[in-house]
Amino acid sequence: MATWTWFHRLASPPHVYAFAQRWTRWFGGFAAVAMIVALVGGLVLAPPDYQQKDAFRMVYVHAPTAWLSLMIYTTMAVAAAVALIWRMKVAHAAAAACAPVGAWFTVVALGTGMLWGKPMWGAYWVWDPRLTSELILLFLYLGYMGLRAGIEDPSKADRASAVLAVVGVVNVPIIKYSVEWWNSLHQTPTVMQLGKPKMDFDMLWPLLLMFLAFALYFIAVLLTRLRAELLRRERNASWVREVVT
């Protein structure tokens, strides 16, 4: 059936490799341009927040990385589910490619969150629900990567970690809710507010552009890592000979 050909192509490593090879530079290029424009917009053009002054500018790095860390986990879990259901090797490779990037950006979201927290709360670490959830997300990534590293047989490691990713993504909303509940019981409401309820357009557009830039950037990195994974996994296949010589 014609409508299914794209799906079959998605399952074919040489096709995906060629696709990634063709498109990585486009995604990467647009991501770089968007990132620079958004940086200028956020750091130079946007007015400071009336409460937080220029400290609010950290939103342009903290929010996109925090969002990305969660988005990568979701992408990983979706890839894992697809891989499990349709026994698709490319999807396993994609899930494997997601994990290290996601873990890195979770660390960055935590780090920028702490740097933002110091001037706002007076301490680097406060048991704020968002920071706490982010920390647990980091543990989820570490568990995933630990399982992958702990199983020698690559095909077993693929499928076991895929099950874990799916279980983890079911758990993420529950963790988020429970942490918020826990926080509301134990903590006085946080003083951190993101500017006025309605953000100024001058503040908003660099943020939205930054989200877009990070999404494009992630796609570019994912495609590159995916190519590396495919080469390693398909080393005995004949198409590898053509693409590396």
Binding site: L142, G146, G150, L164, V170, I175, Y177, S178, V179
Partner: protein, 226 residues
């Protein structure tokens, strides 16, 4: 005549019960561990009962979590080594049901005794006698949910080297909601308040665990058997 799924699950549970009573040391050890951890806390914290009482929910729940992780390592490992799990997988019965039966039995043998022994540890931490019912109930429900989540981890680490540490690494973040609601229920019980709200949430997690965890555990065990 082919055995029904329920009867197969019942037999799995009966076999595990019989095996456990032939080798009781494996049952007693996690329980001892829990009691010792809980009673060592005053030595590191303070002998002052009022301050210990504040720390009691945390101590009890961390102790229960660690001891249940300790026990979970043995949930599937022996059966994987001696070929019992292969036998389950090839029995023509639903592996999900049989693993669910195993997990429930495991809880009956580790989690339930732990909840029943908790008043001893709780009393040592200055928890008043009126609160014991809440302590037992919250730990019983919470340890059941932990067993279900842990069964997934135990299945996933079957194929791994040094599965024990890995099992903790995988399972701990997944148990965060159980820990939060459970410790909250215990805390409310100790302070004499109504602890039904966190218990409902804990129950909701257990129900979700009952429906999803055995499926995931069965998928994990199948992968581990290869």
């Amino acid at each position: 005549m082919r055995t029904s799924a329920i009867n197969a699950a019942r037999l799995v549970a009966l076999r595990d019960l019989r095996l456990a009573f032939r080798k009781p040391s494996q049952l007693v050890q996690p329980l001892m561990f829990f009691i010792i951890v809980a009673t060592l806390f005053p030595l590191t914290l303070t002998p002052e009962m009022s301050r210990l009482r504040d720390a009691a929910p945390g101590v009890l729940w961390i102790g229960a979590l660690l001891s249940s992780l300790l026990a979970l390592e043995f949930l599937f490992r022996e059966d994987a080594v001696d070929g019992t799990l292969e036998q389950f997988a090839l029995s023509g019965q639903s592996l999900t049901w049989m693993l669910f039966a195993k997990t429930c039995t495991h809880w009956l043998l580790t989690g339930a005794p732990l909840a029943l022994a908790a008043p001893v540890a709780a009393a040592a931490l200055g928890v008043p006698a009126d609160a014991m019912w809440g302590v037992v109930a919250s730990l019983a429900l919470g340890s059941f949910a932990m067993s279900l989540v842990g069964a997934i981890g135990a299945g996933l680490t079957l194929g791994a080297r040094r599965g024990g540490v890995l099992l903790s690494l995988l399972t701990l973040p997944l148990t965060v909601p159980i820990l939060i609601f459970g410790a909250d229920a215990t805390e409310l019980a100790i302070s004499g308040a109504d602890f039904s709200a966190p218990m409902y949430l804990l129950g909701a997690i257990a129900v979700l665990g009952v429906t999803l965890a055995p499926l995931a555990a069965a998928a994990a065990v199948r992968i581990g058997l290869e």
